[in-house]
Symmetry: C2
């Protein structure tokens, strides 16, 4: 997941429905069921029971990630994985199974390394950042300037010239994880721009992570055409702290950095999808999914193979129960969320003439689900809260007014209500964009509850008589 | 720390004093102070106050580990670190500062890698095990047989022939960490012997760890002269689980393993030490310390730079307070704990004619101290419990009847009472023998409390009128 778009750069206060939350009545619990709840609770219970009866989501995710490994945009493994999902969706007998072509960025890491030269020779744990240029052949050897922040870099003035800048900004842990990420990730995203502006020859960051076993974390970074692109990489948290201590002791620090990274011409990829066609309003669509691409480390199991699979499993649950709703439910594996959002934008462009009733995504890790975040109208929020209350049995009945997912954000821009699956994200940034993002980080029972939550939301919204209201967009 | 000697292979039931614990009165707390406590509590409080007044232990550990990095036996960095500790002990004006020569094993890792060849090509996260032979030049490519246990390997019979055996034994987490370690570590220690016996060409283990961000953990392994030595390495927990899943799906797994590991002739090293000479009984010695060597990954900060430094800091606290006890207090940095215990044995051999009153070690991570484990006579245990109660203010007043430390185990064998510092070890096996064992895993305030605990134990035992009784050894 790359959240800067949805959770960092968009001001929260502008989100529709935010101000209305406080006046919403508390639903569910000991209250009398509403007519909607009376009508759907038996079906909801059947969905939950089936979801919890096996570990098919976890099994399918295991096949996907063990078979193809990580799936960076432009890679063969991503394209093979997309084809595999397509073929499995055909086997699942979903309707309109297809791959819609999208051109994606094609960045390749190549060989890379960083090593301490002074005060002693030692390898450093690093990962180049996605989108970075490589170093000149033979690498860069330069003195390091460690700073806490952009402010400290600006105060350093001339001292940054010719240096490798290292931002040692600690991930704030006194606020919720995604908020802490929003603050720390700016050094990954904009660090190379500011370093270049200051005359530095390369930009290093402390990995954006809340736990580390000397495990570096990659992620997207950008350049500004006004400034020379300089190579950018993440050191492990431990290495960044060590270099900072050395500087604090007055030691001269010299690092050698070698990166073969390069950006090739855009490559062919695609969004893969299938659906259950609505029996009454087939042109009204509830879309749900996750992104099938990942960074090129680990297995992209948590980010976001698991998100795609629980959305897919949600649709399969409806299929297995013979539940054909009034409207169409479509599951999508978006491509290129991580370094371009071309899948999410491509989907919006290809489908903007369709009538999307709701867009849902799971990209915060398919951990134990807590409920959903919804962005739409106050009336929509009331309905979603009403549906959410039916999920009390599996503890995912919480509804908050922030959806914050990337692939569905282009749909949100055109007025489509959105839902993000909220999960227990306490360990998300232990593994995010690191080699540690492998299948074992997820849990079969938790994934089953995620699938149930999405299935219930999708089914009820797709089947209820009144459609969820669109959001007025003033453009 | 390598615990098989002290905590796994020695039957617990044989430990002196174990059976007596239940009848010990509870001391401290709301009870009236004993004469010993009335005499020493004011001094204890001064020691604690000074320890908590700064972060000098943490600072010194930072200098040690940042300056020299990891310190494997036979390496130049270990010898330079030993010299540095010696010189700092001289600056601290300790008495009889010296390095006592010890010859140590000299194993070198060299380049190494493991890669999945089938069902798909992918690098695997690995670390060779200490003591392993290398592969033939060009490496070994062979099919993998994954087993849960030695029993499963034995049941496989002929199927292990010519294969690479992978033991996927999960670290038991329903028992205390060091007990879980004791069970899991046998696959690291004896895995290659059993694999070779079964006709396998190499031995892989699931890393012995309770957390993983695809971080492999090394450690010592042994061969049996009856069987051909085969290369032995640890995969990360994630990789071992992935290979196991592939086998469960009926897939053929082929791995390519390349290791340059070799054992060179024994190298010169030494135990470094300094002391505060006793004013009345200088030939009665209370020895405390940790091991200065480490594995060749991370910084050996937790295992066991921190243990050495808190013991050293304990002696410095007494020095700074001008406390010269009746008996001699000696701090030792033992060499070669990890792959040979030559330091601990060499110390015992060189000093067996001295009168050791107590031997203390901190090698379970200088985390938040809980108290001490003591092995000696029931009368000794009662005294240590009485002293421990004076540490209630810093929460390290617990006394248990298991010391379980490696470097002091040769002294235990000749009747010396022993103490191991007990700490909050819940994260110990997250970092143990991995690249993640770096300074940031420890905490200045926790280290200060460790130093205070050891200083109090050392001082009171060294100063009280009656000496701690020796244990009768029947040989």
């Amino acid at each position: 997941m790359t959240k800067p778009r949805a959770s960092c750069l968009v001001p929260r206060a502008s989100l529709a429905g935010f101000a209305m939350l406080a006046i919403l009545p508390m639903l569910g619990g000991a209250q009398q069921p509403t007519p909607l709840q009376r009508r759907y609770q038996p079906t909801v219970d059947r969905i939950i029971a089936l979801a919890l009866s096996d570990s098919s989501a976890y099994q399918r995710l295991g096949e996907l990630v063990d078979k193809f490994g990580p799936r960076l945009s432009g890679s063969e493994s991503l394209e093979r994985a997309i084809t595999w999902v397509h073929d499995r969706m055909l086997e699942d007998k979903l309707d309109n199974v297809r791959i819609e072509p999208v051109m994606v960025p094609h960045w390749v890491r190549g060989k890379e390394s960083a090593a301490l030269v002074e005060p002693r020779a030692a390898p450093l744990a690093m990962l180049g950042l996605g989108g970075s240029v490589g170093t000149p052949a033979g690498g860069i050897t330069a003195e390091v300037l460690v700073v806490n922040s952009f402010d400290e870099l600006h105060m350093a003035g001339e001292r940054a010239k010719g240096k490798i800048v290292l931002y040692d900004y600690p991930f704030p842990t006194n606020i919720p994880p995604f908020q802490g990420y929003g603050r720390a990730v700016q050094y990954r995203v904009r660090g190379a721009i500011e370093a270049s502006k200051a005359g530095a020859v390369a930009s290093l960051i402390r990995s954006v992570a809340t736990n580390s076993i000397r495990s570096p974390h990659t992620g997207v970074m950008y350049y500004d055409t006004l400034y020379t692109p300089v190579p950018a990489a993440a050191l492990s948290v431990e290495d960044a702290m060590m270099l900072h201590r050395m500087q604090d002791r007055g030691e001269k620090i010299v690092v050698h950095l070698e990166m073969e990274a390069q950006t090739l011409p855009d490559a062919k990829s695609g969004n893969v999808m299938g659906e259950i066609k609505g029996w009454q309003q087939p042109k009204q669509v509830i879309v749900l999914g996750g992104h099938i691409d990942s960074w090129d480390v680990g297995q992209g199991a948590m980010d976001d193979g698991g998100g795609l699979v629980v959305a897919w499993e949600a649709v399969k649950l409806l299929k297995r129960l013979g539940l054909q709703p009034r409207r169409t439910v479509r599951v999508v594996g978006w491509t290129n969320e991580e370094n371009g959002l071309r899948g999410g934008r491509g989907y919006r462009d290809a489908h903007q003439n369709e009538d999307h009733v709701l867009a849902m995504e799971s990209d915060a890790g398919a951990f134990s689900p807590l409920g959903v975040g919804f962005e739409g109208t106050p009336q929509g929020l009331a309905t979603i809260t009403e549906i959410g209350a039916m999920l009390k049995a599996i503890g995912s009945d919480r509804v908050t007014p922030i959806a914050g997912e990337a692939d569905i954000s282009p749909l949100k821009e055109i007025g489509v209500p959105t839902i993000g699956l909220d999960t227990d994200d306490r360990r998300y940034f232990w593994y995010h964009h690191s080699e540690g993002d492998m299948l074992d980080k997820l849990d079969p029972a938790e994934m089953a509850r995620c699938a149930a939550t999405l299935a219930v939301m999708a089914y009820v919204v797709a089947d209820m008589e009144t459609r969820l209201p669109r959001v007025g967009v003033s453009k």
